[in-house]
Amino acid sequence: MADVGASPLLELRGVTNTFGALKANDGVSLAVGAGRIHALLGENGAGKSTLVKIVFGVLKPDSGDMLWQGAPVEVASPAAARKLGIGMVFQHFSLFDAMTVAENVALGLDGARADAALERRIVEVAESYGLPLDPRRATHTLSVGERQRIEIVRALLQDPKLLVMDEPTSVLTPQEVERLFVTLRKLRDEGRSILYISHKLREIEELCDAATILRQGRVVAEVDPRRTDARRMAELMIGSELKGVARPAARAPGEVRLAVRGLDLPPEGQFETPLRGASFEVRAGEVLGIAGVAGNGQVELMRALTGERRAPRADMILLDGAPVGALGPEARRKLGLAGAPEERNGHAAVGDMSLADNAFLSARHVRGLTSRGALRPRAARAYARDVIAAFAVKAGGPDALARSLSGGNLQKYVVGREMLQAPKVFVVAQPTWGVDAGATAAIRQAIVDLAAGGAAVVVVSQDLDELREISDRLVALNAGRVSRAVDAASASVEEIGLMMGGVHGEPPAATGGAVGLAH
């Protein structure tokens, strides 16, 4: 909502974009005023990322117009966008792991080479905005927060009028988020505009001057977030009332089902994080949340728990008191340990196979879908049908290809496939990552119900709100180390944030520098 009379810095009119049958954007119009932080708000799949790609010239819209400082423009490429004065910080960083920071920055600037002059400019800009960076470091040695700085510095070096940021805080600790906001406000005070894409209401309330809310590809509202109730914005975003998770009444903790004791795991490749003496316990009837910023060992911990990687010693992982660290995924499943990794498509499920075939992946032993080396396709289809029915998966049936399902429905199928095996221990990573609100509520409820039924559940998530909603206790993962556990209901966000940053219960030290990974 630009000031009346002055033309906005950026204006979109009637932008429509279609992928196959899906209308990702349907007649979207919005205006970003100069010197403002404008939020683009919407849940997963609402069409935010598609719109951003159009603004940055990565995608061409099927129809619609873009105006820059009041004049119609056609942004044919990211280079053209950069020339106009648009800088971009991607959600999935466009970085090259094997290259240095300076090389990565050079690739984001037109015609630049990674030479000494550029290195000096990087240090200059980085310091003046409080984003310390060493231009000669190899990118793969940096933490996720540091990598994001490369993206921001890269954008700032072009002196942009508009900075587009796609979900920038999803990879940061609460403390890092605060520091980022300081930088962003400074940029606004310099007269720059920021198009801030997020689905986190609290951040938008705190930071933004205006907000456009998208739902299913359409603009449903323009609001002033400083004066609009967060609950109201959430309802506009989701299109229905917010549904919370129904927690059972206080339970007496049961026996320890899963115990991890001093788990060390060397990295498999140079881009991995080693686990260092990770220890925790989960009891029957309990949900343990594992918080942490991506890249701190979540993927590695999941692999170690599901058996995709063996522990160095069998007794580093105990299931009902029995050492299982040396067992592979099949043997652990037979003992009642089920898992659902973060990446649905290609890890927890095979996109090019049917849902029935996908049942074989993890349920073949416990549910008897094979016998003596032969597949039992009819049993697999029956099981897939059971999962579809029990978890209200919207799918064409057991023969539908996994990749034909929406993210939320495939996640419900994956979670359901594990839960219907009635596991004693269930470990799940990012259970609602990229999932719409309806499926999110259903999955969270299912997790809580599973624990209520006597299972021990481990949830690895970057979403602190989610963890606080469904966990009984919380630990944080930082640089491959697991913090002490805190009570999920009573711990403050600040306390958890410090744990995520590697400060484990000691008095908060100076946190001005990087939230560093040990290298």
Binding site: G14, D62, S63, T306, E308, P329, D357, G373, A374, S404
Partner: protein, 362 residues
């Protein structure tokens, strides 16, 4: 007007089946154009190569004999190719299989019995598998690309063959020619249709393709191979370990190639000579892809390829086409299939042109 290429949501089954036929048709058209441009009777060449062997029932047994090793090797390779294991050294495994089986034959030269031939076949399969174990070990233990190691080993196998037939295994009554003794009746594959060249190896090859199809479709082992190829991370999640799959598929590929080798030695050749390796191991790679890595498709593709071989020989005499022409047609056929494949995976869609500012909605 703009066009956009996008993946199809569902694979079209009709196109899946039509693609190879379309590829063969395109090969005939392009091939005859190319050969016309080179000054040959292009259309005549294409007709001789692709039609005449089919039209003449007397040549059908030749088709069977030519297709058997191709089908057998290609089926073995297809397991690996599906699982991203690129064994391109089947030629070497084929030769070593023949050598191993021949070793048994030479040792049993003075003996008689029905056990000899089966023992040769088992030795052949084991020999091929053992030779494939080298690149498998190098890949799983030292991360050496099996593409390069298996291919290098093919050159090594050829030299091993030359050494044996010139040296220790040379026929004492062979006038110093570099060749082994001819196999005895106990060591030679019987004809399945008396009076023709159609030997027992032909039904064995096609039976193997059928069994491979059952394994791929209906067993956990086949499921493992499919999952590893489609989504390696999901395979690991399912408990299929990449190294184990690499070992299994490499050994299977080697065993099939080795069996093909000894069947060829105990069938059409009846001995080992320096001319024994004919490049089947390489052409089988084309056959595997032409058959879309599907055992039954490979059986068909093997026959198509045999047609081009047999027809290529005819064309040498009838239209004076050089022997190399068949190879050109074979490579063209794979190029065409890979190109046609595009149609089954993607489709062209028209997108509306970006409207001008005047046409914009308010």
């Amino acid at each position: 007007m703009a066009w956009r290429i996008e993946p199809r949501a569902e694979r079209s089954r009709a196109l899946d089946l039509a693609a190879p036929a379309l590829a063969v048709a395109a090969t005939i058209v392009i091939g005859s154009l190319v050969f016309s441009a080179l000054g040959y009777d292009g259309l005549g060449a294409a007709r001789e190569i692709f039609l005449s062997p089919l039209a003449d029932p007397q040549r059908w047994p030749d088709l069977g004999v030519k297709s058997a090793p191709l089908v057998l090797i290609a089926v073995g390779l297809s397991f690996g190719f599906r699982a991203n294991v690129w064994n391109i050294g089947a030629e070497g495994q084929y030769v070593v299989g023949a050598i191993a089986g021949t070793g048994v034959a030479l040792a049993a030269y003075d003996m008689a019995g029905y056990w000899i031939l089966p023992a040769m076949l088992v030795a052949g399969a084991l020999g091929g598998a053992a030779y494939a174990a080298i690149p498998a070990l190098l890949r799983t233990r030292f991360k050496v690309s099996e593409i390069l190691s298996s291919l290098m080993l093919s050159y090594v196998a050829l030299q091993l063959l030359y050494f044996l037939v010139r040296g220790p295994w040379r026929d004492p009554q062979g006038y110093n020619f570099p060749q082994t003794r001819t196999f005895t009746d106990w060591e030679t594959l019987p004809a399945v249709v008396p009076g023709t060249v159609l030997h027992l190896g032909v039904p064995i090859a096609f039976l193997a393709a059928f069994l491979a199809w059952i394994v791929l479709r209906a067993t956990v082992l086949g499921f493992e191979v499919r999952v590893v190829g489609l989504a390696p991370a999901a395979a690991r999640y399912a408990g299929f370990e990449a190294d184990r799959t690499a070992w299994r598929t490499m050994l299977a590929g080697g065993a099939f190639a080795g069996l093909a080798g000894i069947l060829e030695a105990a069938g059409p050749f009846g001995q080992l000579t320096p001319q024994f390796p004919q490049g089947y191991g390489y052409v089988a790679i084309i056959v595997a892809f032409l058959g879309r890595l599907h055992p039954l498709g490979i059986a068909l593709a093997g026959i198509v390829m045999a047609v081009s071989y047999v027809g290529g020989e005819t064309a040498q005499t009838t239209v004076g086409l050089p022997g190399a022409a068949a190879g050109v047609f074979q490579a063209l056929m794979l190029f065409c299939l890979l190109a046609v494949d595009m149609a089954t995976r993607y489709r062209l869609r028209r997108v509306a042109p970006a409207p001008s500012a005047a046409g914009a909605r308010p």
